[in-house]
Symmetry: D2
Subunit: 363 residues, 4 copies
């Protein structure tokens, strides 16, 4: 498998930025899951750029479910969803010098020049619309089993959002925010920070944080298919993510064992930990505490400033100024893609553990 992910629920992505459509195939869904088309459209709208920091290209995302749904419910056979590319201006894009920070040169070396380079082709963030659509179906199925999740902007420049506190409530509060923040008063200064970078022809990155509530204990494997391993595998597909940490992550390196270990307590008849430095995972396996992880989203590589690069067709050094439509920041949009990736990955793990029909069972 290459552009597919998941052993029990398998997602396959296809499409290029400037082809007729992009899409996804989801195989392994339980039969009988309700497919809420409004929910898909809503999740797509959250991912869609908006406001002053949006690029010029905005797609309507008029998706079509091609297969796998009958009378409003999943059939259990592969669900294919396609989203046409409608707002294409190919004149903006021609094969030129390698854009620094982009995959142009790496892709050329892999595909020997046969790649569709228009708008980033298969590497385009556009493909994440299909991920988000697929994730919407799956997140609804998880929610019916009591598993909810959300991602917020944790840090951007000097602005730091607070961490998750009452995880269940915080997740609920984040569901409808295109620019998700636990402290919404930070949106204006963060947007101003991004707009300032845009005004300079530059871009910014940020840290985003995800929490998952309601995961049962005992999911994951001790070696290789650890929850951290499987999640990070998928998360690094989200464009611009360059780091993933679970629980306190890198900050654990500054603690003593006596600080990093989470004391274990009884609570309402269940076993919980008093703190959650380990992010809900021990030895690769869920422990019933909320999953918490953070991703580093690098600054958008497409910037207006002139950059030194190489025209690798001509094999000569050159300066490059990227025109066209670009986001000065994508971490807020990445939140919605991370949610989709997380939902898809957890569904896969749960389906492997409990079987296909678990998602349509009561309780």
């Amino acid at each position: 498998m290459k552009n597919s992910f998941g052993n029990h629920l398998t997602l396959t992505l296809f499409g290029e930025s400037h082809g007729p459509a992009i899409g996804a195939v989801l195989d392994g869904l339980a039969p009988g899951l309700s497919v809420n088309e409004d929910s898909i459209a809503h999740k797509l709208s959250l991912r869609r750029p908006a406001g002053k920091i949006a690029p010029a290209r905005v797609e309507a995302d008029r998706y079509q479910i091609v297969s796998g749904v009958f009378e409003g419910k999943t059939t259990g056979t592969p669900l294919c969803i396609t989203i046409p590319n409608e707002n294409i201006r190919s004149g903006d894009y021609q094969r030129a010098a390698a854009r620094p920070g982009h995959a142009d040169y790496a892709a050329y070396m892999k595909y020997h020049g046969f790649e569709d380079y228009r708008g980033g082709g298969h590497f385009s963030g556009r493909i994440t619309a299909a991920l988000v659509a697929a994730g919407a179906i799956v997140a609804d199925a998880l929610r019916r089993k009591g598993i909810t999740l959300a991602t917020h902007v944790s840090r951007c420049g000097a602005y730091c959002d607070r961490s998750f506190d009452d995880v269940e409530t915080d997740i609920a509060a984040l569901q409808n925010m295109p620019f998700p923040l636990l402290d919404p008063s930070l949106e204006d200064p963060m947007r101003a920070f991004i707009e300032a970078a845009k005004a300079e022809g530059d871009s910014v990155g940020g840290v985003i944080e995800t929490a998952v509530y309601g995961m049962p204990a005992g999911v994951g494997e001790p070696w290789f298919d650890t929850v951290e391993g499987v999640l990070s595998h998928a998360l690094f597909s989200v464009p611009a993510i360059k780091g993933v940490e679970f629980g306190d992550g890198f900050a654990l390196c500054d603690m003593k064992g006596s600080q990093a270990n989470d004391p274990i307590r009884l609570h309402n008849g269940g076993v919980v930990t008093a703190t959650n430095h380990n992010g809900g995972i021990n030895g690769g396996i869920t422990n019933s505490m909320p999953l918490v992880f953070r991703c580093a989203v690098k600054p958008t590589p497409s910037i207006a400033k002139a950059q030194q690069t190489v025209d690798f067709i001509q094999n000569q050094e050159t300066d490059l100024v990227i025109h066209g439509r670009h986001d000065p920041a994508i971490f807020h949009r990445a939140c919605h893609v991370v949610n989709a990736v997380t939902a898809l990955t957890l569904y896969d793990l749960l389906a492997g553990r409990y079987g296909t029909d678990w998602f349509t069972k009561e309780g």
Copy 2:
């Protein structure tokens, strides 16, 4: 696949801390690779604890190659290597209260109490000896193709090693160090810091950094099987790793795009980048620059201090004092495990890209 990893070169781990042996099966190796038994023994010795910060249990690691090697070379059929557990004192271990920071409770929920709890069972760091042995064979194969790699302790407490500079030379310098450092003068203060924690009945964590030299450009996939995704999937199996970042990772979030993008240059007829903030990977695919990534290794969870926990068999809260033999720090030993995991993962990616026999071809 659960306790297996790799599509083209597949590693399967087995064994428990207190069973008769641990081991690994490696399937997909090219036929005709030289198997240097000294190299395996040497790598195992680097992983083996030593010095004042070692636990009491030290194994001789008298490994046996059970299959897949004939007249000193790989046959191309599955290579099984077993390492007997010799220095076992089961009296040290009994099922007791859940050890905070360990997988005891998570494992109980997954395996319903049937897990071999002695010494951590299949979760034990002991299993990494098999990983290191397997990695040694594969690292030799990579080296013959010009691909070398090493990991050093990047940070421990307030002590920070320098970063990779001349990557090829730095990697060579690190090959034989049990406590690998680019600036070896840091070993004494770091060891003193660890010993001080041990004296308090506590433990410490650290950040380790890996570089890979010589990876060809064009390896990896744009979605899911990105180099970052595949590597991190495997790396999170290394016990105590809770974060992975590529290139500048989380620090990229503090940069503007104009800083984070690596300017592209011609050098000796090839395409290189002037900086390597992206760690040798763009769009999930290698770009011919060195791979660079860092892992966060949390403090060893086994500490001598009393801890609050739950006896989940009796369902009651209790205080726990862990006796027995434990490491006050494992990040330096994790370096050698990370090297093995990295070698195994890259071999897998290269075998998928270039075919089985690439590793025995000239050039």
Copy 3:
């Protein structure tokens, strides 16, 4: 993976008989393969029913390549091809009693009644159009490497076609036959035999035989991923196939070892066998001789005669007369599907053995 096949080249099928479209995603193709749209259309036309034994439903198969092809060549990223369902008369189909010989009851037990039952839904032979389209692209790639293949009707009723003799020439002769026979004079009596069954409201089955010329020696694995195992895994997906045998297959059971063993000879400097009772495979691995195998295609289960069955919704026994449009035989059409499946499977094995780019290398 469920409705996907292949480790290096992965095919995913989607769609239902009466949905908007069916399709396939092919991931793992070498970049730079020529995509000949006439070749795809031609292969689809061979699969399409025609003549007196055709059912009333004939689709135009106006396929669209949605992704993965740029300027007439594969990009190396996932190729999605969709084929709209245009000639649908849903009135012909309603959920009724289980059709004997069909998957109706089995599907109901698997999908709990959520399956799209119209026209067989995802079980419909209609889906094989997507397989054939995908196979056409891949067969062209194999042919450029000197590997050709074809399937003919080996037996139908009392009519037996001759076996492959000069395999390369025989394969070439079969390329454009909708009803492929090495002795074309058998087409008329075979069609008459089928029409006679149709006149009785009945159907017939047949044996089909495939040969592959030009496979290099040394492909396949000794255990599990044997060439026989991998091919049969895929072949049993072709609707109505209930048996697969390689070389002389079941007839080998009537031979002595001294008859079944193929004497080995030198020929033009290469190693060949004087006979090919083993069908080009020893120990699961190709030996450079042509691959030869046969598949048993059962009679089409949809017949006009009244049949005893159960209405499993009402839980009562009933008689069923199937109306609508059905083939009285499908083995001749299955030949083209088997060709596609064989091409896809061999491409997968070769890509694993020799790497992604082998198919675009000279020689």
Copy 4:
């Protein structure tokens, strides 16, 4: 994956005929399954050659469970079982001319001469001892869920055993027969037939038939992971199997649809078919009827008669007389290997469908 099989329960085989040991790793077993060591030893004894038609080499099969079992039950972590090779006479084997009907030449082309050629190396039927041991554990788990299976010699020369009739009873009757027959009076003439072939320096093949009782309906996938496809994939690994047919298999080609379709009836409140021409599988999915399939086992390729072949090291034609210890027939021993392969495959399918813990649930 190469020498591994199964997505949910994964079996990996290792070892060579003349290495120190052979073995298997089973990953994905439910925790808490009883491991009956007598059952393993018994199944190994059934596979072991005995009587006049046995070769000289008989192994004691003193297996060791290295991991994955604790206090008599599976832990849920990988179970490794090794079986030492004790009765080795390497003098019998040297690399010589390619043995007709064996993998010698194919293996040489795949492994470039690095294969362990002694006694067939990794291709040896010896490896099936590990398969049988693994299968014994799994068959016990299936039986506790009401699923039983057995294989008998269906045909050898002119001697035909009867088919399965009362499947549950017939399976029970076959459990302890080294030479399994539904009509045990056929053992003497069949053995005489084999001995006669042996006396001529020759060997014979046969057809073996398997039935599985108690499989729930709704298991399998419509495309690719059909029950027929997954089972045949694994079955073709059993040495000398060259054909697999389900239900009436190739004989279905001689039936009309009205004969081949199984009429559907109500019986004891459940849905059954009056006949079982489709072998318990429709559209790739179980229908609750017994699974029935047959495998063609070719004559043992090792024969004493002189054979024409090629010394591919010297690149010259030669005559070969094989000395050493060989079976004049292996189909009766293959029955026990097929049972193991079938049990492992069905466990895998069931684990995927119902989750890991299904096997330890009541009912």
